[in-house]
């Protein structure tokens, strides 16, 4: 693959050193965050990545059907149950055969946080040498908007619908990225589409880190169709998620947790939720529960990142 640009990395576009391997006019929903993310990854990491994906919104485009696909990457259609194990098998064989490789295991939150969490956790515990990217759209969007482990409190989905006895999901979301950081892996980070420079840097760091083992990237990728917001607002939704600390941006390099973007005066979560229909039914008291959850997660993260310098995993001499 040709290298397009040389020189210093100052603007986001400077990170796009490789061709876009996808055909023009890829058919995701208008305003889909997933498409932007998918096109971005190989332009930053290179067209020689081997990408794996599961049945999901990304499947028809990323994986194609029969002998057709919409891109020129090497790819492997995996089961949701075993995505990280499939990536493990690829990366381990390439290592054994001495084949230089970057395996990117690209999955939604349903695979990462729910049905495939066991093998994600197992691969992280074994420090398998590949990059795992979870694009988090907070539920099963492809099957028609069902609740997952990362669906936030109060969100209306087709399995947590509104009704006389229901105000949407009556449970708090899990913090997948922190859980993954606790696996003591070389690299774990969060990112989103309003901060593409940050995302690009983290992709490159993940690529570097996978030489030492498991790299995990949790990318907040909202869904215009499933969440009910205007297609042109995808980036704005991401931006507000960051500014309300609903989705803070941080990274953990060798276990050292650090905020990569600090929000000086975080806005209340209502400035974020008011853009999105799945939260439209929440009253002030409901929103407070969501706010408390966000505050709790941020407080914990703040405490962990304050340990900077005194809390780091030993790094072997070859790193």
């Amino acid at each position: 693959m040709t290298e397009k640009k040389q020189g210093k990395l100052t603007k986001v576009l400077d990170y796009l050193k490789h061709e876009d391997p996808f055909s023009k006019g890829v058919a995701f929903c208008p305003g889909c965050g997933l498409e932007l993310l998918l096109r971005f990854i190989p332009q930053v990491l290179g067209n020689d990545i081997v990408i794996t994906g599961t049945p999901s919104c990304s499947a028809p485009v990323l994986l194609g059907q029969n002998n057709q696909s919409w891109h020129t990457l090497s790819y492997f259609g995996t089961l949701m149950t075993g995505a990280a194990a499939n990536a493990t098998g690829l990366a381990r064989y390439y290592r054994k055969a001495g084949i230089k490789n970057t395996v990117v295991c690209f999955n939604g939150d349903g695979t990462a946080a729910d049905i495939g969490f066991g093998n994600l956790s197992g691969a992280a515990e074994r420090n398998e040498p590949f990059i795992y990217i979870c694009y988090d759209n907070e539920g099963y969007m492809n099957t028609g908007i069902q609740k997952s482990g990362t669906t936030p409190y109060g969100a209306s989905t087709t399995t947590t619908p509104l009704g006389s006895a229901s105000k949407g999901k009556n449970l708090r979301r899990m913090n997948l990225a922190l859980k993954m950081a606790m696996h003591k892996i070389p690299y774990a980070a969060t990112a989103t589409l309003s901060d593409m420079g940050d995302l690009a840097k983290k992709l490159l760091k993940a690529k570097e880190a996978k030489e030492r083992g498991f790299a995990f990237l949790h990318v907040f990728a909202p869904c215009t169709t499933g969440w009910g917001y205007a297609p042109e607002n995808t980036i704005e939704v991401c931006r507000r998620a960051v500014k309300t600390n609903y989705f803070p941006l941080w990274e953990a390099v060798n276990g050292k947790i650090r905020m990569t973007k600090t929000v000086k005066k975080p806005k209340p979560v209502s400035t974020y939720t008011k853009l999105i229909k799945k939260f439209a039914h929440l009253n002030e008291a409901d929103l407070q529960i969501l706010q408390d959850d966000i505050d709790y997660e941020y407080c914990m993260l703040g405490g962990l990142s304050a340990l900077e310098g005194e809390c780091q995993l030993p790094v072997s001499s070859e790193d």
Binding site: Y75, T81, T88, G89, L90, Y93
Partner: protein, 420 residues
């Protein structure tokens, strides 16, 4: 059959378990990637392989996965990337792999694995039975079944020739009985590495199979809908059919190098002049052979047809060998729900018209770890002889559970108690 435990030049005579034989077979095949997860009665295999790996005797990537589902997913992917792979499981472990077992077959990944047969109805069914094999029967894998520890080792090595053959490329599962064979220690002639290398080197002379490599602009694992799917499925079916003759060929080549043959799709024991036949598979066949010898001494013309290749079903050779026999008793170590007879019986029954009037009966035995004893085998032979003699015989006999053979055994408990 040689009657002295004598090693071929350079090979080593060892007394080892079926599990150890499987581990050594895998080691000799030099896999690139092995996935390991414990389950009784298979655990010893992955322990042995881990030991080989720890001692530097086995140069493979050993993935100590967090569950069997990952074991199958990992080896499937490694296989599609171009690697030679191995894993082993049993019972619940096998069914926990089930989605990946289907995907592996669909992707035509030439995985070789061992399944040590164990029951599955409850978690404490830590007992021998082929029900786990039956649960995965229609996944699209080639199934081979071993009778002895020697056959376990040999068949694991042979399985790579079959799975990775350019014209086959279908995953192979090697089955053998849990406990009765997995933990049985017996004399095994462990072949030389160089001989196994030579035997497997044929694969290197074949065209390279399609591999998923970085920058290769190639994808896999995505059967779609309609046309492409049909094409892939039909090709898979054809490869399964081809594997029958291929397995015969492989057995002959194996014999030329190692000096022993176990037969191809089936093994025939004292079949030529037999009037009545038992059809069986796995470890029970050793006992059946011993009892046949005794029966022959008293003039009963009985033989054994041992099924070695269970998927694809070796119907052609079976029909050829069984045609014209007076009576056939099929011994199943598993059940076929929805049918009264066992699975192998039910399948062979489909070829009844081609057998030219041979009568058939079904024996269920050895499930739940019940011992298929000499006495049980004798009973099965006697019953099959009765059938040949035109006597009225039950179509299905549960040999170790006579209650099942009582006239009212199929009535509901409420009726037997005299109403609800």
């Amino acid at each position: 059959m040689n009657t002295k435990a004598k090693a071929k030049t350079g090979s080593q005579i060892k007394v080892i378990t079926g599990n150890a034989a499987a581990a050594i077979g895998a080691k000799l095949a030099r896999p690139d990637v092995v996935a390991a997860y414990p389950i009784t009665p298979q655990t010893e295999i992955i322990e042995q392989i881990s030991k080989f790996h720890a001692n530097g005797e086995m140069d493979c990537e050993l993935i100590t996965v967090e569950g069997e589902n990952s074991a199958m997913n990992a080896v499937m992917a490694a296989s599609l990337a171009g690697g030679r792979v191995f894993t082993a499981s049993s019972s619940w472990g096998l069914v926990f792999m089930y989605d990946a077992i289907l995907a592996t077959a669909g992707a035509r990944a030439p995985v070789v694995m061992v399944n040590v047969n164990r029951e599955t109805p409850g978690i404490i069914a830590v007992s021998c039975g082929q029900q786990d094999m039956i649960s995965t029967r229609d996944a699209g894998w080639i199934f081979l079944i071993a009778e002895t520890c020697q056959e376990v080792l040999d068949i694991v090595v042979q399985a790579y020739r079959l799975a990775e053959d350019y014209d086959i490329q279908v995953p192979v599962m090697v089955h053998y009985d849990g406990f009765y064979l997995s933990y049985l220690s017996e004399v095994v002639d462990v072949p030389l590495q160089e001989d196994v290398d030579k035997f497997l080197s044929v694969l290197k002379d074949q065209p390279e199979r399609t591999k998923l490599v970085p920058g290769g602009r190639l994808g896999c694992g995505t059967h779609g809908i309609l046309g492409g799917y049909l094409e892939l499925r039909h090709k898979h079916m054809s490869a399964m059919e081809r594997s029958k003759a291929k397995f015969e060929e492989i057995d002959k080549e194996f014999e030329a190098i190692f000096g022993r043959s176990h037969g191809g799709q089936i093994e025939k024991y004292r079949m030529d002049d037999a009037d009545v036949v038992l059809v069986g598979s796995g470890s029970m066949c050793g006992t059946i052979k011993a009892v046949i010898d005794e029966k022959r001494d008293s003039g009963v013309k009985v033989g054994l047809l041992k099924i070695r290749m269970y998927r694809p079903f070796p119907s052609e050779v079976m029909v050829e060998v069984l045609k014209g026999k007076k009576a056939i008793g099929v011994v199943d170590r598993s059940l076929c729900f929805g049918f009264k007879g066992g699975p192998m019986y039910t399948e062979l029954k489909a070829f009844e018209t081609q057998l030219g009037g041979s009568k058939m009966i079904s024996f269920i035995d050895g499930i739940a770890n019940t011992d298929i004893t000499q006495a049980n085998v004798e009973q099965m032979i006697d019953t099959t002889c009765d059938l040949a003699a035109g006597k009225d015989v039950r179509e299905v006999t549960w040999v170790s559970y006579p209650e099942a053979n009582e006239p009212d055994s199929e009535k509901p408990d409420s009726e037997k108690r005299g109403g609800l």
